[in-house]
Amino acid sequence: MHEMGIAMQIVEIALDAIPPNLQEKSVETVNLKVGKLSAIVPDSLRFCFDVVTRETRLAGVKLNIEEIPVKARCRECHFEWIIEGPAFTCKNCQSGAIDIITGRELDIESIEIADREIPDAG
C-alpha cells in the first residue's frame, strides 16, 4: 500500500549510489531484494517505480526484484525450513521458539550502469 513511498526511497538511494565518474552514464538496472514477509507487492512496486522515474535520470531503468523466501530456524532443534503458509511453528519439533532468518528483506543490492551516455529524456 505504501509502494509509492518505497519507490521514492529506492530512487533516492540509487541516485546517491552513482559514482561521480559515472554521473553521465546510463543506469540500466536497480537490483532489489524483497522478502516474502515484507508488506510489498512486487508488481505494484514496479509500477510505482516506473511512475516516479518518468522524465528523470532514471527513466526506463529496470527494477529487478529478487523475491526471498521466508526461512526459519528453530531455536530448540536448529531445524531450518522454508515457511510457505501462515504457520510459524517448527516443522520438526513443533516448537514455537523460531527465528525468521530470511524473508523480511527490502534491500537495494546493487545498481548496474552501462558505458553509454544517458539517453535523451522523453
Binding site: H2, P19, P86, G96, D107, S110, I113
Partner: protein, 260 residues
C-alpha cells in the same frame, strides 16, 4: 486538554543523515566491478534505512526521558480508540500517559481521547495523499509538542491498517494489535506480518460473541500458529470485561522500563 492537530512534516531524505548505518562506501571504486562494458555498483542498503535510523533516534530519546512507548495497531473499526479511552481511564493517573493518534482525516479520535485528560496529538496524513502508516519521522516531529519529562507512557494509535504499519519501526518498546471478533477468525493467517511483529493481541468486542457465529478458539489458535506464545487478551472495550489482565501486562512493561 486541548487537542493538537499535526500534519505530516516533509519526508526525510537519505541525505539528511550524515552517516549512513552501513559502512559500504557508495563511491568506493573497489565496490564497482566492470564486466562487458557495464559497471555493477554494490549498494547493499535497506530501503527503509532512513526510517530505521530515525526510529533508533526516537528510541534513544524515549530511553533518556524514561518513557515507555506502545504502538497500537489494527484494521479500521476494530475498537482501538474505545479500548484506549477505557484503558486510559483505568491506568491514569497512576501511569502518566500521552497519546499520539494517526488518521488520514479528522480529529474525531483525538477529541474522544482528550476526555481522559491525557495530552493528545492528532496526526493527519492526508497532506501527501493519505499515508497508510505512521513513520518514525512523523513521530519524531509530533513528540516535539509533548513534554516527555512529565509522562511515563506514550501510546501511539497507528493508522487503521493491518498491513503497512507492521513494516515501520517508530522507536516503540512494544506493539499490540487489536483484532475484533467481527473481523473473521482467519485474519492472523491473512496478515501474518502484523501478528508476527506484535507482542500481544487484544481480541476485542467479546460482548458480541453471543450474536455471532464466531469461533473464538479457532481465532486464538490461528493467532498462536502465526505467533506461538504471544499473549492473547480477550476483552470487551464496551463492558471492560477481561481488561485487568491486559492492564496488568501493560503496567508491568511500563514499570520494568521505568525502574530498570
Amino acid at each position: 486538554m486541548p487537542v493538537k492537530l499535526f500534519r505530516m512534516p516533509k519526508q526525510y531524505h537519505h541525505r539528511d543523515f550524515q552517516k549512513p548505518l552501513h559502512s559500504h562506501a557508495h563511491h568506493d571504486t573497489d565496490t564497482a566491478s566492470q564486466k562487458s562494458g557495464a559497471h555493477i555498483i554494490k549498494v547493499v542498503r535497506r530501503v527503509l534505512d532512513a526510517n530505521d535510523i530515525m526510529a533508533g533516534q526516537n528510541r534513544k530519546r524515549f530511553r533518556e526521558k524514561g518513557v515507555f512507548v506502545l504502538n497500537m495497531m489494527s484494521s479500521p473499526g476494530s475498537g482501538k480508540t474505545t479500548t484506549l479511552v477505557k484503558t486510559l481511564a483505568r491506568i491514569m493517573p497512576e501511569i502518566k500517559t500521552a497519546v499520539i493518534v494517526g488518521d488520514i482525516c479528522t480529529t474525531n479520535d483525538a477529541d474522544r481521547l482528550a476526555i481522559s485528560g491525557a495530552p493528545v496529538i492528532q496526526i493527519n496524513t492526508d497532506q501527501f495523499g493519505g499515508d497508510c502508516h505512521l513513520a518514525a519521522h512523523v513521530i519524531e516531529k509530533a513528540v516535539d509538542d509533548l513534554d516527555l519529562d512529565t509522562i511515563d507512557l506514550l501510546v501511539v494509535e497507528n493508522i487503521g491498517n493491518l498491513v503497512c504499519p507492521a513494516e515501520f519501526d517508530i522507536g516503540e518498546d512494544a506493539r499490540v494489535v487489536v483484532l475484533s471478533v467481527t473481523e473473521g477468525e482467519d485474519k492472523p493467517a491473512k496478515y501474518p506480518l502484523m501478528f508476527r511483529e506484535c507482542d500481544a493481541t487484544l481480541l476485542n468486542k467479546t460482548d458480541l460473541l453471543p450474536y455471532l457465529d464466531y469461533d473464538k478458539d479457532l481465532a486464538v489458535s490461528t493467532i498462536q500458529q502465526v505467533h506461538p506464545d504471544m499473549p492473547v487478551f480477550e476483552i470487551s472495550s464496551k463492558t471492560e470485561d477481561g481488561f485487568e489482565p491486559w492492564l496488568q501486562w501493560l503496567r508491568t512493561l511500563v514499570h520494568n522500563k521505568l525502574h530498570h
